[in-house]
Amino acid sequence: MKYIDEFRDGEVAKNLAASIRATVEPGRNYSFMEFCGGHTHAISRYGLSDLLPATVRMVHGPGCPVCVLPIGRVDMAIDLALNHGVILCTYGDTLRVPASGGLSLMKAKAGVGNKCGDIRMVYSTIDALQIARDNPAREVVFFAIGFETTTPPTAVAIQQAEAEGLANFSVLCCHVLTPSAISNILESPEVRQWGTVPLDGFIGPAHVSTVIGSRPYEFFAEEYRKPVVIAGFEPLDVMQAILMLVRQVNEGRAEVENEFSRAVSRDGNLKAQDRVAEVFELRREFEWRGLSVVPYSALKIRKKYAAFDAERRFALEYRSVPDHKGCECGAILRGVKRPQDCKLFGTVCSPENPIGSCMVSSEGACAAHYSYGRYKDMN
């Protein structure tokens, strides 16, 4: 397909790898965080880390919405389905995220005791709206998760529901913000104080950046002196971004560069930003799996659209729940540990039976390493 195939050419990838090898300075180590799960997946799937010199290390970041969704939020969705009798619409990724009491949305759908949740997987908010239209006598809640890429479609759905007077539709809003998570990583003691997670730069998100633009990252380049290269999700995009980061480090530069200029501008998608600003406002604080409670790192539905806010409509309260004791998802999401450092990895925790959230989505660091990288460890 156009705009995909030409960015996956193996020969070009080998040549880019040769360029990277020729550009790294001897005796110098490079450590870059790919923020996005989309990049994590590409690195694992195409074996990009094998193409890199040993001195270039990629650290997986927290940009996987399913991975950072805390147990307490999934519990709220399960509560809606089991105890409030709603039709809960969700993206497929969240179905298997472990929740309290060994539950998940998938298990709640199959049945718990004598209760069975009416949980429906949707591809789009458009489908969730249609389910609400088709079931006027039922409450229909959309479980809205994701970063800035996925937030605008939720905003459109809420405005559409208002325009149609679709009174049985509401949204459990769990949308989170990329810049807040990057700040949290940069301010973490592992990076700032102890230096246990060396970070020389970031690969910036692809599709998040189509919406928010490249401007929000300028603060990180200026304030923290960290280079950021926004990159597409194809393997050649990632290789090129790594080369651009190596060059910035060599030259002592800390700038925002845009490798994904075919889709990302400095200002981003203003129409989408306006929709989001109209419907959502900053949440005072939000708990992330791995990053703990991060102030002003998520969105909530504005009062103007309160009628479509499931938290208000069903008087839901968030309750923080600790992760499984042996699970290292938290440390992995902060770049402190690698999937293979977790003793549950590949033993009791696998994509078929995930214990931690990073094993659920294909973008999760553990799932990506399990699917594509683990055989290398065995040899």
Binding site: A17, C36, G38, T150, S261, R262
Partner: protein, 80 residues
Amino acid sequence: MCLAIPVKVIEVGAGPGDDWAIVDLGGVKKEISLALLADVQVGDYVILHVGYALSRLDPEEAEKTLALFAELNSVGTGAP
């Protein structure tokens, strides 16, 4: 989750409302919403995410990036 794919717009204004389009997704036709992207024309490639066009692909910028790969190649391999 943020995964999205480039698709070609083959019809604009077709579907439940004005801000809908039909795209070609590797041979499959699909209705998508243009509620989040202004001024989409037939023939444009857009990034499709959960049923919505999020961004237009700029063919010139794509060419520049591909040309950059080629340029770097010659540096990397020592070729002229």
